[in-house]
Every structure is written in structure tokens, then in C-alpha cells.
Amino acid sequence: MREFLDEIIRDRLGQDPASWALTQGVYLVAMMAAGIALTTFGALFAGLTSWWERRIAARMQSRVGPNRVGPQGILQFLADALKLLVKEDLISSASDRWLFRAAPYFVVAGFALTFVVLPFGYHLSATRMNVGLFYVLSVTALVVVGILISGWASNSKWALFGGIRAAAQVVSYEIPAGLVILVPVLMAGSLNLHDIIRAQGGWPWDWYLFQTPMGYAGFFILFVALLAEGNRTPFDLPEAESELVSGYNTEYSGMRFAYFFLTEFGNLWVMSAVMTTCFLGGWQVPGVSAENLARWEALHQVPGWFYLVSAAVFCAKTLLLANVVIWIRWTFPRVRVDQMMSLCWKYLVPAAMALVVLAAVTELMSFELFGEAARVQAPLFSLRGLIHFAFFAAGGLVPAVLFFRKTFRNISFVGDRVRPLSNW
């Protein structure tokens, strides 16, 4: 945070913050403002996503969805939040009162703390922590503590089932997620989220997703593992509404329930942002090469538009991924507990392990062969660049084209909107 503030004060305002009388005070105010802004962003994103997801779900299910409050129903989440705020905060008499009350705060803390390191654009993040990725994995583990507490403290068997399932699931899936995150870490040589992004390029073939087969496979393993960690379908076992009524939050009402709800939707951003950072090139703007950026930085002349454009690029990628997660949620059925476990331990963990070893060996070999040059992004019209482009075409373009062709075929077969037969 301080570097960023210093950078703005030096480069934008042309002053030296060290010479100010109340530098620490300025820092304090700025940091508080940033904290409020970030938590507000998290809450707003979660609220808007809850509306957006319901609209998408409705569209997928030939329904209308919330469209009454505000234009297209966009203010529905405010109405919902208001309703939950004024609802009675019921605490069942048999529950463990203190744990029951504390559980939502663990969950929200685990969610909100990730914003300390999550990038939003070039240099746009609260801190550029050098163990950023490690930090994200650590604080998101707080969420499952809260879920487990809520399941236990509710003193309801359904909630207990949900809590235990969540614990088993999240703890299991943290292992492949943690392992496979090492692939971009090894490729970039850093745990810092910004460094990982800066090691990639703006064009899709410069992303880690299409750089090596390990990155390609790693992306999908991370995607599945983060789906499971975020309790999203097909891994929504902890709150499987058809089996466990509502899972760990069965006994919650009012604002405490809203916290769980907020975290679930907010986690969409967190998981998408982590995936964007690790594999999809983060905030890198196509056309702005690493040398370009380095030159601007050396001259202290990073243009203002670059901050905005990089933030827009990052948000666009993240929102796209979030939408994919939403589509998956409304497409797939739920797996069973044993299937969830065997998928993790039999397939994902060994695969992730193999990927890490392979990535390490490849990195070591390329370093031995090419030295530091292996870390620099190759331009498109070079051997390495063309190989990456071919991999991008085979692994990205072809599946995308096939996917869209299949989709349009299915739509043309039945019709996008089913012919209105009703009320003839």
C-alpha cells in the first residue's frame, strides 16, 4: 500500500512524501479509505452477483427472474439485504450461542481478507505482498473454519452434516489447489501476485494457460479445486438443498445468514481473480510489452490510462470466469460425497503432484539451456512465440469453436426461445 501511495504522490503530485509533516497520518487515512473501498467492493460485487446469477439462471431455465426493483431488477439485492437486515436474528435455544454468533464473522473475514492482496489492475492492490498467493490460500481457509463452527454450533443434525462435509471437502481440495498453484509460481519464480502477472504477457498466447501443457492442465485442476473450495455446483455438497435442507446455514436467519450468502457470492470474485492472476495473464494489456512497461517505470511515466485499461482487462477476465462458474452451477448435477472424495484424492492430487514435478523439471531444464532468457516473454514471430501460438490455437481456439458450434446446433434444433404454445 505504501509503495503505491508513494508512487502516486511522487509521480502524480510531484512531491516527496517523506518531506510532509503528517505523512503517517496521510497513510492512515488513505489505508482506511482503501479498506472501506475494498470491503464495499466485495459486498457490492456479492450483491450484484446474486442478482446477476439469478437473472442468468432464470434465462437458462425459461423464467424471468428478479426484474422489478430498479431497471432490470438490478436493485433487487438492496431489497434483499434490507429484508434480511430487519429480520429477527433467531438463535435456537439449543445452540452454542457464542460460537453460533461468531461463525459468520469467520466466514466473512476469510473472504474479505483476500482483498488485501488481490490485484485489480496495474499496481492496483492494497499490498504487493511477496507471499501473496500463499496468503490467499491461508486466509481462504478461514472460511471453512466458520462453516464448521456454524455447523457444529447450530446443534442441528442437518447443519452438522453440512459443516462436516464442508470441512472434508475444503480441506481435501486445498491440496490439489495448493499444489497446482505452484505451477505458475515455479514459472514466474515468485509468490507475489503482481510478479506472476508481470511474467505473463497481454496476448492469450503469452498467458501461462497456453505456455506449457502443465499450465493448461493446471488451469483446469485449479478450476475444479476452486469450485469445490467455493462450494459451487457440482460440489455444493455442504449446502445441498435437496439432501441437507440448507446445510450448514440451515439454522441461520437475518443478517447472519446474509453474511454466509455474501461470502458465497463474493468468493466467485476471489476464485476467478486467483485463476485470472495465475493463468490468464491478470491485468496485462495486449500490446503493452514488458519492455514498454519497464521503460515507463524507469522514467516514472506510467500513463494514467494504463491503470484504468489494465483494471478493465483484469475485471473483464475475472467476470468472464465468474460467468463460467455461474453457467456450470446451473448446468450440472451434484456429485456424491464419495465421488467428490475420490475425484480429489484419486485423480486431482496425483495429477497436480505430477504437474508440479513436471513444471519444476521443465523450468530447471529451460533455465539450464537458455538462462534468464527463458523467463522473458518471446515475441510472436520467433520459434518460441510460434510454438506458444500453436498451442493457443489448438488448446484455446479449437475447443472454443467446437463449443460454440455445438451450442448453436443445439439451439437451432429446439429453438432459442421455445415456440409459445401456451395460451393459444
Binding site: Q61, S62, R63, S242, W330, F332, R334, L421, N423
Partner: protein, 388 residues
Amino acid sequence: MALEQIVITRKFGPGAEEEMILNMGPQHPSTHGVINFIVHADGEVMKKAVPEVGYLHRSIEKIGELVTFSGFMPYTDRVDYVAAMFANEGYAVAVEKLLGVAPPARAQYLRAISCELNRIASHLVAVGTMAMDIGAVTPFPYALREREYVNDLIEALCGARLTYNYHRIGGVAFDLPPDWAPNCHRFLDHFDRILDEWDRLISLNEIFVRRLAGLAVIPGPMAIDYGLVGPNLRASGVDYDLRKVHPYGAYPDFEFKVPVGKGFAGKNRGGQVGDCYDRFYCRVLEMRESVSIVRQALHKIPEGEWMAKVPRKVKPPGGEAQSRVESARGEMAYYVVSDGGEKAARVRVRTGSFMAMGIIEDLSPGLMIADLVALIASLDVVAPEIDR
């Protein structure tokens, strides 16, 4: 102490053999109505699940003794509100047998048309809720959307969308409205494509198939022993459909296949004859057959009366009669005893759901709680049909 428990105690220490008793229902979202299951669970795995019925008991059989013969017809709707046509038809046929009246040919055809449409609607609810119980929410509104079209058709036919009271003693209440047949054809053509889409949407979904393949297998002899009927029985590989075995009404005139379970999930996914996926997919296939029956019926339907000459006051001579119809939930039987008065001396309804509930306790050991939900859904039980 059983040997098994001693082994568990030695292995994991005292108290390890304890089980959790879980009260599933009657307000649980996926018990398909007010049914209660006492689940003895050891973690996620069940030791047994005991169904407890009776929450929706409304004394419909007793009401049959208190109201006149024709006055009981609206009550039959409530026996099975998801597929009310069959309950109507069963009672009508039984009283017709008592009276010695035969409904005219057109009425038979109208009964077949309305019943098969209702079978489609009922199976749509069955497969839709089953997909939802497995966790796929999207197929359910798809199914309900199509069911709305069926409801529109039936509403045009008889004025009601759920409790029809369409079949009457001696025939049916109304003839086909004008323009009804072309509209019905439009729906059927549309529905053919929807069934293909349904397969792509959920039936062939890998997660869905693997969830259900080899789950809660009911072998054919066991299904017969427990008195399972309808799609539940046929999914176990028993080719028994009342419309074929003892054809009634207009069914001898139609050509249709009887889908029988044959491990549709595939050997490589662990599919076996009589597993939950067979029960699901048999219903999907039956919808196709129903579509073909309705088409044939609309082509062949004869002109004429749709109501036999039945006295205003139905007063059958003393005696007893039994009728059987192939309902969406399997064979439904009515047994009506008349003592020569205006009211029946005894009405008895035999329904498929009640029989299906009996098998759950014996299938449940070793299943997971998520599997119990799938099992209940695959048996397609409807609470009022269990309790009446």
C-alpha cells in the same frame, strides 16, 4: 452384542458403533410431500431408513362410503393429484362394471388421450424432480414448462389443470373442443424435440448417470415380491404393463412398446438392471410411447357419443367390482362394493406409491443420505397416493 459391533468397538474404541438418528421430513424439501423417514445413519452412510407414512391421510376411502357414486368422482382426483386422470378412470371403470354400462368408443379414445397426456405430465414431474434432487436445478423448470403445455391442453379439454374430474361414470364429461386436435399435434411435434433435448440436457449427463448407475438395484423377483408396479417394476426388467397384458379401454387399438429396464447406464459406468437410472430412463422412454399413443388415438378416434346412457341417480345393483388401470405410477386398482343404495358400501384404492414405500427400508442399508433422496425420487412416490 453382535460380532460386528464387537469388531467395531475393538477397532475404534467404545462408542464408535453409535449411530445418529436423523428425522428426515415431513418438512424436508425432497421427500416429495409430507413423508417422514427415520434415518439411522453412521456418518453419511445409512444403516436403515424407515419410512413413516400417514401424514397426508384424508380418509378418501371412507369418503367414498359417505357420498354418492358420482359425487365421489372429484375426490378421486385427490388420490393422486399429479396424475388424476387415472384415478378418475379407475373409479369410473369400477362403477361401470357394477352398473353394467359400457362407455361408447369415442369416450374410450378420449380417456386414452387424456390419460396419456396426463402420463406425460406426471412423468415430467417425476423426471424433473429427480434431476432436481440430484442437484441439477435447470432441468426441472424445463420439465414444468412442458407440463404447462399439457396442462393447457387438458384445461381446454375439461376446464381444470390439476384435479380434472373429466372421466365420468359411463364416459367422459366433454367432447374434444374445436381446434383441439391440431393444437395437440403441434404440442406433440414440439415435444418430440424437447425429449431429445431432455436427453442432451440431463439423461446423458455424465455426473447424473454416474450418480444413479448401479444405485439401489431392485432385481426383478424382488420387485415382484414387494408388489412394485408400473415403471418401477418395468425398470427391474419385468415386462408387465397392464395396457398390454390386460388391455382395457381403447388400448388394444394402439401400437406401442413397453420400455423395460436393461441397465441403460451402461456396464462401464456400473449400470445394472433395476438401478435408479433405469427407473429414471424408463419414464423418459414411456413419455415417447405416450406421445405415439396420443398421435394414434387422434388419428383413429371415432365419431359418436362420448357418454353412455347412465341414469341421473347412479344406483348400481348390489355386488362388487374391481377395476385396474395402468396409472403413471403403476397399476392402480379400485374395489367398489355396492349394497344397492346410492352410496358405495366400500371403496378401496390400491396404489403404486404405497407399495414403493415398502421397499425403501430394505434397500436403504449401505446407501448414503444423498442416495436415499435419489431412491425416493426414482420410485416417484406421491404423498397423497401413499396415504390417500
